[in-house]
């Protein structure tokens, strides 16, 4: 089998004690991905503590995790199949550690949602499903673990699948497959189970090998948020990561929110045998521009054909993690890529529990682990996209004081008219002539993006 040259990131999520760390430990051991002395060390430690071999200890390295038998923080570990390399992300299942789960899952290419066959769908199963939806992880597979405790019974498996399909549908997710396993015995992980002969689908490892990284297309809109401006060797280098699209020298670009046009002059590089001809999505880049236009950290560079949405009001779904609820009349900081400004919640439209999806009153704001559908008002105009259009510039975090307290995805620009009124009344920091330009761009960009 020829090996694939890319590394896929997979997060394993699910309710506490449904066996995430055991599954991963087993994957590592059965594919011979973990050094023998590390397995021996765990074996020794388990014998010392009078326990059976605990594969989870390969990941749950902290003393507190091992003594309590839980995962506190997310870990990632590399492993490989015959086909390619993987980064496996173990995310904690406890409610108290949801922010660690989100840290683990936010950049995964695919997710495996683990369910204990005896317990079925539980609170964190639903919560994790909502979070995967919010994070935009599209490739989700469900793994039904501990089939040995149900005597490998097909009917019980089918029942769990039916329940789970309903729970996922509520969260807006569709699983691509359901896999019965017994992680403790390594059944249907790397080796096919002789107790589950009625199951015709793929093992976990074969399911992973069949996954692909979903790249955005070559002609996706150009999105280069400016991270910093350097003045080295008498050049003014605009540095940032190309979040979407491709760039070449000579390309016409627009700098937002000002709407200033110029062209890319050079693509900068160091220690390359040949300078780059084209920059692609995901690269940390540096460019110089034809004209000495004003820009700074936070400026969004785009191509002229696909402008972003620009405005101070945006609608979004926010997953809240803060100790105090997300409320109106309080200042937060919003960060969209490298843009950062003060903001407040203008309206809370709906609040629901990410676990059981029950809707609560909007009066008390958005408590931790609830999702709020909100309109935010930023102090400065922002340039962004709907998450469904360009995910990289369609998501943000909210800070309360020093802390990251929520993650959100943008559904759109709120009330176009009111946004314009607001800008005209309240001034744009760049000067009086700007709002007109803004408004013009704004209308066109809506057509392009929606």
């Amino acid at each position: 089998m020829s090996r694939i040259q890319e590394t896929l990131k997979i997060v394993i999520v699910g309710h506490v004690d449904h066996g995430k760390s055991t599954l991963i430990g087993r994957l590592l051991a059965d594919t011979a991905s973990v050094p023998q002395d590390r397995i021996s060390a765990v074996q020794r430690r388990c014998t010392e503590q009078g326990k059976e071999m605990e594969y989870a200890f390969l990941l749950d390295a902290l003393e507190e995790e091992q003594s309590q038998g839980i995962t506190i923080d997310t870990t990632r570990i590399q492993f490989h199949s015959e086909k390619r390399d993987y980064v496996i992300i173990d995310a904690p299942g406890h409610k108290e550690f949801l922010k660690n789960m989100i840290s683990g899952a936010s950049d995964a290419d695919a997710a495996f949602l683990l369910i204990d066959a005896q317990e079925g769908v539980r609170e964190q199963t639903r919560r994790h499903a909502s979070i995967l939806k919010l994070l935009g992880v599209r490739q989700v597979h469900v793994v039904i673990n501990k089939m040995d405790l149900l005597d490998y019974d097909q009917e019980s498996f089918d029942q769990i699948v039916t329940d789970c399909q309903a729970a996922l549908a509520n969260a807006g997710l569709v699983a691509r497959s359901y896999i019965p396993i017994a992680a403790k015995f390594g059944e249907n992980i790397v080796h096919r189970s002789s107790n589950l002969t009625w199951y015709a689908g793929l093992t976990i490892i074969d399911t992973m090998d069949a996954l692909t990284i979903e790249h955005s297309s070559h002609d996706a809109p150009v999105r280069l948020p400016v991270q910093d401006v350097y003045k080295f060797d008498h050049r003014r280098i605009i540095a940032g990561r190309l979040e979407s699209g491709t760039l070449k020298a000579g390309d016409e670009i627009v700098c937002w929110p000002q709407g200033t046009r110029t062209r890319i002059k050079t693509l900068e590089s160091w220690n390359l045998s040949e300078p780059p001809i084209e920059l692609v999505q995901g690269l940390s880049v540096g460019v110089t521009l034809e004209d000495p236009v004003f820009l700074e950290r936070g400026t969004l560079i785009t191509n002229s054909d696909a402008p972003p949405l620009v405005g101070t009001h945006l609608t979004a779904n926010v997953y809240w993690l803060g100790r105090n609820p997300l409320v109106m009349d309080r200042r937060y900081t919003i960060k969209i890529t490298t843009q950062e400004t003060s903001c407040e919640v203008k309206t809370i439209h709906r609040v629901y529990d990410s676990g059981d999806l029950s809707v609560i009153s909007v009066e008390g704001g958005v408590p931790a682990n609830f999702v709020g559908e909100v309109t935010l008002e930023a102090k400065q105009p922002l340039a962004f996209d709907p998450f469904a259009g360009v995910p990289e510039t369609g998501r943000f975090v909210l800070m309360d004081g020093y802390e990251v307290c929520g993650g959100g995805i943008i559904t759109g620009l709120a009330g176009e008219q009111s946004t314009d009124d607001h800008q005209e009344k309240e001034k744009s920091p760049a000067g009086a002539a700007k709002p007109l330009v803004l408004r013009k761009k704004l209308k066109r960009s809506i057509v392009v993006n929606q």
Binding site: P35, I77, Q227, D228, Y230, N271
Partner: protein
């Protein structure tokens, strides 16, 4: 995009983010392969320049070749180098025989603490990786340490979508880990790809080579015939031994690294 290119880009983004956020920032250079790759990435991020000063903590027990290599590279690349030593502990005769973990804490952790205080550094770039050992597996890219240098691993900031918590209450300093997602194999593949000069202690002489570098009394070479970077890559693809198996302080007890790191160790 190739895998190494993706790793490189993610690291450069983090280095640039740290440089932008902290006026007083330094990069820890242990002379080992990881921090030398980190240094190379910084030069790449800033187009051949390294605007960030390097800090080397000299325990005086380092393998002598490391100091020679350090001074040679620093001069060739025009680096700003700050060397820290816990003079008081050394005068007092601290050495590994007084207990390896105590020695690491005094000469490395406290040595670092002194230099951070002296220069008032708010941020410190370091080349640690998740796959090195368990407690590092739990790290964040931007990882705060309180004024006593303690790591509160139970309450770490969330990191999502490359948004990092970069600001903290006064007295906190931030450890920035741009290589967190790399593996040992990735590091060697990158050294080959970029032709980065690493110290030759890593290459086999008389059937032995160092796989991880530290202080002479606590670091043992491994049995190996790998004489160059290509051969090391081949060796790593087939080994089932851990990288830090030659580092004595890790083996003091089951949670040795966690205990050291909670107190501020790298």
């Amino acid at each position: 995009m190739e895998h190494l290119e993706r790793l490189e880009s993610e690291s450069i983004y983090i280095i640039r983010e740290a440089y932008r956020k902290y006026k007083k920032i330094a990069m820890l250079w242990s002379i080992g392969k990881d921090s030398t790759v980190l240094l190379h990435l910084a030069r790449k991020a800033f187009y051949g320049h390294c605007p960030i000063p390097l800090v080397h903590i000299d325990t005086t027990f380092k393998i002598p070749e490391m100091i020679t290599y350090r001074d040679k590279i620093a001069q060739e690349w025009g680096l700003k180098l700050v060397v820290g030593k816990n003079e008081e502990a050394l005068r007092d005769g601290m050495n590994p025989e007084r207990g390896r973990l105590d020695c690491c804490t005094a000469l490395k952790t406290e040595g670092l603490q002194q230099i951070m205080a002296k220069h008032e550094f708010q941020g410190l770039l370091m080349g640690i990786r998740r796959d090195e050992e368990g407690s590092r597996g739990k790290e964040r890219y931007f990882s705060p340490r309180n004024k006593d240098f303690e790591w509160n691993f139970k309450e770490q900031p969330p990191e999502l979508w490359n948004q990092f918590q970069t600001e903290f209450p006064a007295g906190t300093h931030v450890r920035v880990h741009p290589l967190l997602h790399w593996t040992e194999l990735n590091v060697w593949q990158y050294i080959l790809h970029e032709n980065i000069p690493v110290i030759d202690l890593y290459f086999s002489k008389n059937g032995k080579r160092y796989r991880s570098l530290g202080c002479a009394p606590c670091t043992a070479p491994i049995t190996s015939e790998a004489k160059n970077v290509e051969e090391i890559i081949e060796e790593l693809k087939n080994t089932r031994e851990t990288e830090r198996s030659g580092r004595a302080q890790d083996q003091v007890d089951a949670y040795a690294m966690q205990k050291l790191r909670v107190r501020g160790y790298m």
